[in-house]
Amino acid sequence: MESVGVEGVANEVRTDYESGKTRSLAWRRSQLKALQRLLYEEEEGMFTALKQDLGKHQAEAYRDEVGILIKSVNYALENLKKWMTPCRVPVPLLAFPTRGELVPEPLGVVLIFSSWNFPIGLSLEPLIGAIAAGNAIVLKPSELAPASSNFLAKSVPKYLDSMSVKVVRGGPDVGQKLLEQKWDKIFFTGSSRVARIVMAAAAKHLTPVAVELGGKSPAIFDSLSSARDRKVAVERIVGAKWVPCSGQVCIGVDYVLVEEQFAPILIDQLKATLEKFYPRFDCLSRIINEQHFQRLSNLIKDPSVAATIIHGGSLDSETLFIEPTILLDPPLDAEIMNEEIFGPLLPIITLKKIEDSIEFIRARPKPLVIYAFTKDEKLRSRITAETSSGSLTFNDTMIQVLSLCNLIFITPWHRSRSFHCLLVVRVRRIAIWRSGWEWVRTVPRQVLLRHVQSHESRAEEELPAGVHVPVPAMGCMEAALHAIRLPLRLRHSAPSPAGLETRLISTRSPLLLAAMITAAIICRNNRLYLPFDIINR
C-alpha cells in the first residue's frame, strides 16, 4: 500500500470514530457478533492459511487460535454491558456532597501490530478487546505470515464494519508509515527490537503503548518422586515446547532447570514422550521462513553447543523442518542461552540444588513466564515471592492463556482505568475478601470492577448473601453428592472460622457445583463459598 493510502486509512478511521457510532453498545455488540460469525463460518479458511504459513496442524490451529478466539469473543459478548457500566466510588468527607464515578470510555483509534507465530489469534484477540471498548481499529498483521494476512484482509471487511475496522497489509515500510500517524493506543506483539522502535515513534504523539514481547521462559523441574507426576509434567513440558507451533511461541518453555542427579530421569522421560507424541512428524509445525531457520541452525552450529546435543538435531533446509532437539548443559555464555530460542531446541541446565534456580532466573532479564513443576510448598512460595516474571504457572504450561479471560495476560496494567487499557477489561474478579469478616462473597461483576478499582467494598447491600463452608477431607464422590444436598444442612450455619485457602463458586448448575467441589478437594482447598441463591434452589 502506498503512503497516501496509509495516511488515508488513518484519517478515514478517525473520521469514522469521531462520528461516535463505535461508542454505542449496539455497535460493539454487532461487531463482536460479526466476528463470532467469522470464526464459525471461515474456520476452514483459517486452517488453510495457517497450514500454508506455518504448516500448523488443524488441531493445533483450533486449540491455540480459533478455539481461544471463540471463547474470548463469547466472554466479551457476555460481559460487554457490565464492563460498560460506570461504577460509583466512595468520596471523602471533604468533598461532600459529591459522587464519584468511574466511566469507561474508548481511547479512540487503535493500531494493532500482530506477530507471525499465531498470526490469526494474536491479531483478533486484541481486536476483540478494542471493539469491546468501543474503539476504531487499524490492524496490521505480520507480513511473514502472508496467507493469514491475506485471509484477514479479505474476511475482516466482509464481516465487520469496514469503515471503522481496517486491515492494512505490508512489511516494515508500511509499519513505519503507520507509526508516523497519530493513534490513541498502539498494541504491539513481537520482538523487543521492534518494540523499541514502536515506543519511540509513539512518544512523538504521546501515544500509550502496550507491548507483548517474549523472553527466555524457564521451566523449573523439581525432583518429582512419583512416576505418574513425572510423566504428566514431562508431557506438559513437551506440550509447551514442541506442540504449539514447534516452539515458535512467546510463552513456550525456553529451557529447563533441573537438579544434576535428576537430569537423566528427566531426559529419559522426555525422549519417551517425544517418541509417543511424534511417531511421525506431520503433527509438527515447520519453521516460519529461511531466515529463522538459519538463525536456529546457527544456534546449534557452534561446536561447543553441538557437542551437548543428546537428542535430535537433524535439520532439513528444504522443508524448513527441525527435529525436536534436546541439549544438556550447553555453555551458559553461548548464544542459545542468551537469546530467546523461539524454535524446537530445548536446553536442559543442571543445578546442584533446585533452589539455585531462583538465583539463576534472577540473574537474567525478567521472562514472560516462569513454569515450575513442584510439589514442595516451600519452594513454591519462594518462587512466587522471589522471582519476577510476566506470569507464573505451577505444574502446567501454556494454559494460562486458556484462562485468559480471568487472569491478566502479561500486563499493561499501569493504565488502571479498565477500558483505557484493552486487556485489563478482561480481569474478572469475583471475590471480595472482607478482612474483618473472614468470609468471601460472590458478587456481580459490576460491583467487582468497582472493587478492583477502589478496593473498597462499600456496596454491601448489593452482594448476595451466602455462607462459607469448610469442606472436610472426603472422597470426591461423597463431596459431590454432598454438594447437592448441602442446602438443607447449611441454611442456618454460622460463618466458619478463617481459612487461608478459599475456593469460590459462582455457578448455578448443581453438576458444575459438584465438579467444583471435586476440584476444591483435588486442589486441596478446604473452603467453599455457596451463595444463598444456589442453596435455596
Binding site: A95, E105, L206, E235, L284, Q400, C523
Partner: protein
C-alpha cells in the same frame, strides 16, 4: 551510607557515570529484597508521615520561597493531601499487597489462579514545580507502597523545595533505597540514560515526549502526568454565585492558576456571559480585594521566564483588547492579577497553549451544543468541568467529552479522592495514580496459575486424531461432557 562514592553521586557535577553508580546502588538495594517486605514499606511511609509532621513549617517556608504560596494553600493542597495519601496507603497497603484470587475456566480444570502484585523494581520520579512538594512525594509514596527502590528528581524551578527534599527525605527514609537527585536538564538527561523499571514524570508534553523517547530505549514503561487546557462549561441555569466561587478557587486559589487541573478557559452561552462576568468580578473582589497584587492570598508567578510567557500572551492587541477585568502586572514581584478576557479570538496563542497562570478567557457561543463541539475539537484535557442543573446535559457531557477526569458543578476537587484515578488521556498524559492506582502504577500484576498433576487431558497432545479434536473443541467451549471425558483420560494413547 557505607560507600563514599555513592554519597558523592548525589550532588554537584552529577553526570552519566554518577547516575550509573546511583542506579547500581538502588538496584543492589532492591535486589537485597528488603523493599519487598511489608515492614519495610510501612516503616518508610511512617517515616514520611513523621517527616511531614516534624517539618511542616520548613515545607511551608520553602513553598513560600518558591511560589509565595499562601500557607493556607500549602497546607490544603500539598501538606494535607500528601499526608492523607500516606496514611491511606498505610491503612490499605496490606490489602493491596494480598494476592488476588480469580476464578479459573473449566478448560484448565482443576486449577487455581491468582494475581500477585510485585514491585516493578527501581523507579525514577521526576516532578514538577507548581506543587513541588505534593507532586514529588505522592508518586514516591506510591512507589514505596508497591515495594520499589526509588530515585526522586524534584524540579529545579522550585529550588527551595528541591533542596529541602535533598536534606530531609534521606533522614526519614531508608537512604539506600530512596534517593533524591537535585539538578536541571543535564542531571535529568544523565538519569534518563539509565535503565529504570518505571519512569513517573509530571510536567509538560514537550518534556513528556523526551522522557518517553528515552524510555523506549530500554522499553521502560512510563507514566506521564501532563496538563492541557481544562475547559469549564457553564450552563445558564446554574446558581451563579456558587459557580463563580468554585471556579475562582479552582483557578486563582490553586497556585494562581499554575496548576494542571486549574480551569483554563470558560465556555458559556452569549446570553449568559454578562451575568457570569458580573458575578465573577464580584467574587474576585471579595476574595482578593480592590488591589489583588497586594493580596497575600495569591501566589506569584514562579519565575521571570514564566512571567514573560504570560505577559506575552497578552501582547497581541486582539487579545489585550478583550480584557474585562484585572490585567495588572508587577514585574518586580512577579505578580499578575486575576484577569478575565471575554471572547478572545479562537486562533490566538492564549487559546492554543496551556495558560498555566491567572488569565481566564471566556468564550461564548449561541448554543451549549457548540461548546461541546469546541471542547472536542481540541486535544484531550486533563480535566473537564461542567456547571449545570440539567441532568440531560450532564449525561451528554460525560458521554461525549473525553478527558482525564471530570467534575460536575465544582473544580479541582476530584484529585482529592483517593478512590478515583488521577491521570490524563491523549495529550494530557499516560497512566494514572492516587490511592490504589498509585500502588498499581508501580506494581507488576503477575498472573499465577497453579495446577496439580491430576486432570490430565491427553487430547492436548499429539499425535492428533479426529477424536482428540472433538474433545478439545468441547473443552474449549466449556462442555461438561468433554471435561469428564478428558478427566477420565479419554481418548487413550
Amino acid at each position: 551510607m557505607e560507600n563514599p562514592a555513592e554519597e558523592e553521586a548525589v550532588g554537584v557535577g552529577f553526570d552519566g557515570a554518577r547516575a550509573a553508580v546511583l542506579v547500581a546502588g538502588l538496584r543492589r538495594g532492591f535486589a537485597s529484597g528488603r523493599t519487598r517486605s511489608y515492614e519495610w514499606r510501612a516503616a518508610q511511609l511512617k517515616g514520611i508521615v513523621r517527616m511531614i509532621d516534624d517539618k511542616e513549617a520548613e515545607i511551608m517556608a520553602a513553598l513560600h520561597d518558591d511560589l509565595a504560596k499562601p500557607h493556607m494553600e500549602s497546607y490544603l493542597h500539598e501538606i494535607s493531601l500528601a499526608k492523607a495519601a500516606c496514611t491511606f496507603a498505610l491503612k490499605e497497603m496490606k490489602r493491596w499487597m494480598k494476592p488476588e484470587k480469580v476464578p479459573t475456566s473449566i478448560t484448565t480444570f482443576p486449577s487455581s489462579a491468582e494475581i500477585v502484585s510485585e514491585p516493578v523494581g527501581v523507579v525514577l520520579v521526576i516532578s514538577a514545580w507548581n506543587y513541588p512538594f505534593l507532586l514529588s512525594i505522592d508518586p514516591v509514596i506510591g512507589a514505596i507502597a508497591a515495594g520499589n527502590a526509588v530515585a526522586l528528581k524534584p524540579s529545579e524551578v522550585a529550588p527551595a523545595t528541591s533542596s529541602l527534599f535533598a536534606t530531609i527525605l534521606p533522614k526519614y527514609t531508608d537512604n539506600s533505597c530512596v534517593k533524591v537527585v537535585e539538578g536541571s536538564i543535564p542531571e535529568t538527561t544523565a538519569l534518563l540514560e539509565q535503565k529504570w523499571d518505571k519512569i513517573f514524570y509530571t510536567g509538560n508534553g514537550k518534556v513528556g515526549r523526551i522522557v518517553m523517547t528515552a524510555a523506549a530505549k530500554h522499553l521502560t514503561p512510563v507514566a506521564l502526568e501532563l496538563g492541557g487546557k481544562c475547559p469549564v462549561l457553564v450552563d445558564s441555569n446554574v446558581n451563579v454565585k456558587v459557580a463563580t466561587k468554585r471556579i475562582a478557587v479552582g483557578k486563582w486559589g490553586c497556585n494562581n492558576g499554575q496548576a494542571c487541573v486549574a480551569p483554563d478557559y470558560i465556555l458559556t452561552t452569549k446570553s449568559f456571559a454578562p451575568t457570569l462576568v458580573d458575578a465573577m468580578k464580584k467574587t474576585l473582589e471579595k476574595f482578593y480585594g480592590k488591589d489583588p497584587l497586594e493580596s497575600p492570598d495569591l501566589s506569584r508567578i514562579v519565575n521571570a521566564k514564566h512571567f514573560r510567557r504570560l505577559t506575552s500572551l497578552l501582547d497581541d492587541e486582539k487579545v489585550s483588547g478583550t480584557i474585562v477585568y484585572g490585567g495588572q502586572q508587577d514585574e518586580k514581584h512577579l505578580k499578575i492579577a486575576p484577569t478575565l478576557l471575554l471572547d478572545v479570538p479562537h486562533d490566538s496563542l492564549i487559546m492554543k497553549e496551556e495558560i498555566f497562570g491567572p488569565l481566564l478567557p471566556i468564550i461564548t457561543f449561541n448554543e451549549v451544543e457548540d461548546c461541546l463541539d469546541f471542547i472536542n475539537s481540541k486535544a484531550k484535557p486533563l480535566a473537564a468541568y461542567l456547571f449545570t442543573k440539567d441532568k440531560r446535559l450532564e449525561e451528554r457531557f460525560v458521554k461525549t467529552v473525553s478527558a482525564g477526569g471530570m467534575l460536575i458543578n465544582d473544580t479541582a476537587l476530584h484529585l482529592a479522592n483517593p478512590h478515583l484515578p488521577f491521570g490524563g488521556v491523549g495529550e494530557s498524559g499516560i497512566g494514572a495514580y492516587h490511592g490504589k492506582f498509585s500502588f498499581d502504577s508501580f506494581s507488576h500484576k503477575k498472573a499465577v496459575l497453579s495446577r496439580g498433576f491430576g486432570g490430565e487431558a491427553p487430547a492436548r497432545y499429539p499425535p492428533y486424531t479426529p477424536q482428540k479434536q472433538k474433545i478439545l473443541r468441547g473443552l474449549i467451549n466449556g462442555s461438561i461432557i468433554a471435561l469428564l471425558l478428558a478427566i477420565l483420560g479419554w481418548p487413550r494413547g
